[in-house]
Amino acid sequence: MKDPNSEKKFKDSVNDIWRSVFRHGYTDTPRNRVLQIISNVWLHLHPARVREHGTKLRFTWCMGGITFFIFLVEVITGVLLMFYYTPDVNKAFADTIDLMYTVPFGRLMRNVHRWGAHAMVITVSVHMFRVFITGSYKPPRRFNWVMGVFLLVITFLLSFTGYLLPWDQLGYWAITVGMNMGGATPFLGHEGPFSQLLGITASNDIRFSLVGGTTIAAPALLRAYVWHCVAIPVIAVALMMVHFWRIRKDGGISGRL
């Protein structure tokens, strides 16, 4: 019964699958190396060629790359936390405690998410510092510096919105204080200068639109949750795509132009 060619057929079919995924062999020529990179959807995100100085850690400190890595860690741990967390004032804190004490690996995921958030603020700041002291904001990289400033703000907003979600005393009062600062916005905050000109009160100012009410209550928790888990990450990814694409268009990650 056994087909004498079955082994060969099996190997050929495996080979076919392999070659349908990786279409360029191992031939070590400059052309083939480039083809290997640009024909792979993951590897093509990297430049086909990296200049030698681009790999020197002493210059870039890899801070942008580390920031992006931490962002990916935050996405993964954040999605896992969402499986157990309910953005409801009666459940949020209990869910957080349950994550810590009853969910296998829950405490690890929460702590990684939290420390990652701290780390991301630090690395993004160090990245900005490095770009500044190496003068990498100068033309033609000016546009990308501005994108980077937007991403810095996005990082802060992600941290800020995430702060409220455990619905504990720390986060609650931090958001209360932060939102009252928002209430002091010129023109749009009810305690800010010139707000009377626009007829702004506590129930129609910028703070009201951010927390969905005049006090930090259920709507504020839901809004923080949606901003934190959906809206801001989408904006962050969009800005990151521009940021990374622009690095290459502006001549690579380091070195003179």
Partner: protein, 174 residues
């Protein structure tokens, strides 16, 4: 309508003949897209506009600013009672009543009354207020808000209206 050479947009590098006829089709196309984007832009601006946009709900489910706190005699003489859910202190000194806001005027934390020191203290940044709500230490810029308090003529109970603030000197004598 047949396109002639003169209708085409000429982009020759020598710079010769760079012009094209602005036909009726161009005009209608421009007008159509212009209206479309103007309308979409208008809706978007209206959507995110302040005071009446998407992020400003017309109804919020919050406690009423005007509420009954109870009969005057239910508050002991010379006492400070914190109504936690309403975020007010009812301060009684003899026959005089005051309704003070719990919210610190610095950045909005909830202040606590310290019986030993007879002052209000904010746990966030250390602002301090006298028993009458006037600030004397820390970053607080103003005295605690004083709310209007009246006696309901039918039930004889105290009613506080948080939507109306009164001067620091105001007190309700029963």
């Amino acid at each position: 309508m047949e396109t002639t050479d003169t209708d085409r947009c000429n982009t020759s590098e020598t710079g010769e003949n760079i012009w094209f006829t602005f036909t009726r089709r161009h005009f209608l196309s421009l007008a159509g897209w212009g209206l479309f984007f103007a309308a979409m832009g208008g809706y978007l601006v209206r959507f995110f506009w302040f005071k009446h946009g998407f992020f400003y709900p017309k109804v919020v489910f919050e406690l009423s600013p005007r509420f009954t706190v109870g009969e005057p005699k239910s508050f002991p003489e010379n006492s400070v009672t914190k109504l936690k859910s309403r975020m007010v202190f009812i301060v009684r000194d003899g026959d005089s009543f005051k309704a003070l806001s719990v919210v610190c005027t610095h950045l909005g934390c909830a202040v606590e009354f310290s019986k030993e020191k007879n002052i209000f203290e904010c746990p966030c940044h250390g602002s301090k207020y006298y028993r009458n709500g006037v600030n004397f230490a820390g970053p607080a810029p103003r005295p605690l808000a004083h709310f209007e308090m009246v006696i309901d003529p039918y039930s004889g109970r105290l009613v506080v209206d948080k939507s109306k603030t009164v001067s620091v000197e105001t007190e309700l004598v029963v």
